[in-house]
């Protein structure tokens, strides 16, 4: 029995279509087993927290836990705000505002790292961008480094009153998480 060309083309098509279907089926089976390792609904639910700021006085700072990380909330004094605004952005090591609410290309001006009308509130992720230690500066007695902001004791990174890296090995400014004022005295982070 000879196999003529039409039959072998049909067979080729069937083999190809069958294999393609099997590949799609295989991917469909595999996907849930891969996706189950991504954060589950309970982890995603902890993704946002609300913080009441009414008890914080000027010059005072508070640390809260968000997504397993420390978040520094500081009620800046007018001197701290002015020092931050007076810095020439072109001199900074990291030019990006590092604000999760804004594109990375926005400049590291103090205005782009706080909320308009609420410049006294500084909200930062308290993790040094070098190797991940928690910088000092939240407590009254802490060493706040050469620029009056934060100082990381692990390898000597100095951050200013807007949380931007000024001296030391850290490559980037401290991250500003996404947050918004839901009332005048309450913020929602994340």
């Amino acid at each position: 029995m000879t196999i003529d060309v039409d039959d072998s083309k049909r067979r080729d098509f069937l083999v190809l279509a069958g294999n393609a279907f099997a590949a799609v089926g295989g991917a469909a089976v595999l996907w849930p087993f891969v996706q189950q390792m991504n954060p589950d609904a309970s982890a995603l639910a902890m993704a946002s927290i609300e913080v009441d700021l009414s008890a914080i006085k000027p010059g005072q700072a508070v640390t809260v836990m968000w997504r397993g990380k420390p978040v520094f909330i500081r009620y800046r004094t007018p001197e701290e705000i002015k020092a931050a605004q007076d810095v020439n952005v072109a001199d900074l090591r990291d030019q990006s505002c590092r604000n999760d609410a804004l594109p990375e290309t926005m400049p590291a001006t103090d205005a782009d790292r706080v909320k308009k009308g609420k410049e006294n509130w500084l909200v930062l992720v308290g993790i040094c961008t070098h190797l991940g230690c928690i910088p000092k500066g939240q407590s009254i007695a802490d060493n706040r480094g050469d620029f009056g902001g934060y100082f990381c004791p692990c390898h000597g990174s100095h951050y200013d009153t807007s949380g931007r890296i000024r001296k030391g090995p850290a490559p980037r400014n401290l991250e500003v998480p996404e947050y918004s004022f839901i009332t005048d005295t309450k913020i929602k982070i994340g």
């Binding site: 849930p32 189950q36 589950d40």
Partner: protein, 428 residues
Amino acid sequence: MSGPSSYKPQSAAAKWFDDRLPIARLVHDSFIAFPTPRNLNYLWTFGGILTFFLVAQIVTGVILAMHYVPNETMAFDSVQHIKRDVNYGWLIQPLHAVGASFFFLAVYLHIFRGIYYGSYKAPREVLWILGVFIFLAMMATGFLGYTLPWGQMSFWGATVITNLFSSLDGVIPGLGTAIVTWLWGGFSVGNATLNRFFSLHYLLPFVIFGLVILHVWALHVAGQNNPTGLDIKQDSDAVPMSPYAVSKDVFAMVAFLIPFAYFVFFMPDWLGHADNYIEANPLSTPPHIVPEWYFLPFYAILRAIPSKLGGVVAMVSAILILLVIPWLDTSRVRSCKYRPIFKWCFWAFVFTCLALGYLGAMPAEQPYIFWAQVFTFLYFAFFLIAMPIVGIIETPSRLPRSITESVLGKNGGGSSLPAGAASAPEKR
């Protein structure tokens, strides 16, 4: 194994590797070119189905273990967390739970096939014994796994089954209690018990995997049995495993997965017990403690015997007796197809097992106890009376001369056209 290897490496790289680790040759010889009897029916597809389910249970189980917490305060909630919060947890958990039930369904069909066709008889005794060990390991794994959700049935089933060992106090005073305390890690089933049961539940499937490798190896030494019980004597008796047996296995696997999928998606809890959705309460025993369906026949045997130690011995014997059936059966003919009396005994045995299963689910009261005792007797009678005696007294039906003859008929193997299909060529 039949004859020398027919594997030919297809590339220089394949030949290089074959000279160093001939694994492609092993796969080719065992699963591609392997001569498989041409008359296998669908009852022979359950080996492949069982292997698939073992792998599926391991994969879904390892994933569940990423989210499950084996601590008595958190276990129950962690199972709910998997079902509700974990991505696709609603799918993965029932795949595992229903998978266990279908794993046992397949193993029972596989075992009954073995009994009916005499697959336990020489030279397949070790193959059969390995199978019994796999069955025992499966039962242990299933028991351990069922305790993990820490529902009422989990807890009380664990209490009842571990307490079985206390019957040994009747043999050596204090021995049973010492063993039970040792199993529990405490004075009752508790956190220590749960933690170690989780560890063992993770371990045993890999023991099963090793036993399965030995089981398949032993199978390949003797070759598969087949519905006639005759050996492969000529080339026409067999077909290469690939594509014939492989495609039959794949088709059967898909067919088996359809009812499996129906349970997983539409009634995942139907085979379970509602009481396992109640958190374990050490101070309250449920009114109706039953194991999962696949343990019910043995549970019926346990409860049928009025003595505590007697019940345990009977239940354990009911499983261990399987080990010796190659020597209990005196028949020179393998397959029940050609054993007119024993075939009848086999079906009575199947009915007995189903009856025991039903009775195991019933409360431990009359008339169920009486009937459980009747069927326990019949269960053992099949092995201890029917197998030795019927093999001697029955006259087997006439066996075909070969596997080929059983498939193609007496005149088969000659012409390639079936009788009556000859037609004149077109005269146009």
